[in-house]
């Protein structure tokens, strides 16, 4: 359940930008979350609702944009898309992969007023 801490991290960023950018209410937040980041989407949505209660983002909606994971396959000498750690290359079944993306945990943008 570290999603709760992650949501607290999101809220901190929202509250900080409310101060610096001068808005009073957050209506919607878009997160970019990589498939290898170890985040459970359902838990994230649930925690978010609880964490933002009574804050500048009270009642706002959270949208999660899932980012794929890419790896360099040393056998194929090619960039491939994988769905999890410990999984083989989808085209040659080799485990010799160098993962290059997929662990993103980013707040992309938000709608405010």
């Amino acid at each position: 359940m570290h999603e709760m801490s992650l949501c607290e991290g999101v809220l901190t960023v929202l509250e900080d930008s409310a101060k610096t950018q001068g808005f009073k209410k957050v209506k919607k937040v878009w997160l970019e979350i990589g498939v290898l980041s170890g985040v459970e989407h359902e838990a994230m949505l649930f925690s978010y609702e609880v964490v933002v209660r009574g804050s500048v983002a009270d009642g706002s909606t959270l949208e999660i944009i899932e980012l794929p994971a890419q790896a360099w396959c040393m056998q194929c000498m090619n960039e491939v898309v994988i769905t999890g750690r410990g999984e083989p290359c989808p085209s040659c079944d080799s485990y010799q992969l160098q993962i290059s993306s997929g662990d993103e945990l980013r707040i992309k943008e938000m709608e405010v007023e």
């Binding site: 570290h2 607290e8 991290g9 960023v13 938000m110 709608e111």
Partner: protein, 298 residues
């Protein structure tokens, strides 16, 4: 999370750290909302009509809603604290190791055995992370090594901020080894950098050999895997080769040491690893001028 210094509200307690501030933030809700008056902007809308109000590009004051691009890392704050810890460790020549495992892998037993065997050769200290009780810190102190308990309350992991706050009361010596025993959990601590040099994952042979595949994030994040309780192998149906292959599948560069903390078998390899990484941590360490002067005078 408290916005004063970023610490989680109420639940976390650090032994000996007089760190408290009131968490009575007031929230007023007296601003007017008028949701019906304007159209909401949707990302998947077929038409983007910027004339109605909210849009990515807008003139200030013309619309109520607006889009703000943030592009910030959610763990940014934790990572900033972790970087502070990392520079603190580097400055003081401290090797910090983050020990992670599931509950019951024999982490504390492995640690007490290591402390007993190493305390004549190395300066040591321990941060103990548990949800509740100071039992483990008490066990550590029985070895004669100083320890500090952090209770995370409902939290499932230590974070860099807690570790940073522990530095003052614990005061690890320069050129020492600091063991951070994380909360027993193979999921959450993987995401939180504490500023440590290495994560060390401890897995016991009484658990499933496929744990590296079940919890790949942790075994990916770890640089060393310790396979504990190998004295029990004759009584178990645990395939060591398979387990090691699984671990290397998620992390091709992971190092693996097989030990039994109770019989002492294999422990020498673990100690060699600690001493070697400790040497690496001390590269670039420069004692403060006043300490050099003090040493010369003595």
């Amino acid at each position: 999370m408290c916005t004063v210094c970023g610490c989680s509200e109420g639940e976390t307690t650090i032994e000996g750290a007089a760190h408290s501030h009131a968490h009575d933030h007031e929230h007023s809700h007296d601003h007017a909302h008028s949701h019906e008056e304007h159209e909401h902007h949707h990302h998947d809308a077929k038409t983007h009509d910027y004339g109605q109000g909210p849009a990515h590009a807008h003139a200030p004051g013309l619309s109520q809603s607006r889009m703000v691009q943030i592009e910030q890392d959610i763990l940014g704050k934790n990572n900033a604290y972790a970087n502070e810890n990392r520079s603190y460790f580097a400055e003081h020549g401290i090797l910090a190791l983050n020990l992670v495992s599931s509950p019951g892998s024999g982490k504390t037993t492995l640690l007490t055995k290591s402390l007993t065997d190493l305390q004549d050769e190395l300066l040591l200290s321990v941060i103990e992370g548990d949800q509740q009780t100071a039992n483990d810190a008490d066990r550590i102190r029985e070895t004669g090594v100083k320890a500090l308990q952090i209770n995370t309350g409902k939290g499932c992991h230590l974070d860099a901020h807690m570790v940073g706050h522990a530095m003052e009361p614990l005061a690890p010596e320069d050129k020492s080894v600091l063991f951070i025993e994380n909360v027993g959990n193979l999921v959450c601590p993987a995401a939180f950098d504490l500023g440590e040099a290495h994560k060390v994952a401890i897995l016991s042979v009484t658990e499933g050999e496929d744990k590296p595949l079940k919890y790949p994030d942790m075994f990916f994040a770890a640089d060393l895997m310790i396979l504990n309780k190998i004295d029990l192998l004759p009584y178990l149906d645990f395939d060591v080769e398979k387990c090691m292959a699984y671990a290397r599948r998620v992390n091709p560069t992971i190092k693996i040491i097989q030990v039994s903390a109770t019989t002492g078998e294999g422990m020498e390899a673990w100690y060699q690893w600690i001493k070697a990484t400790h040497q690496l941590a001390m590269i670039g360490y420069q004692p403060k001028l006043e300490e050099v002067a003090k040493a010369k005078a003595a």
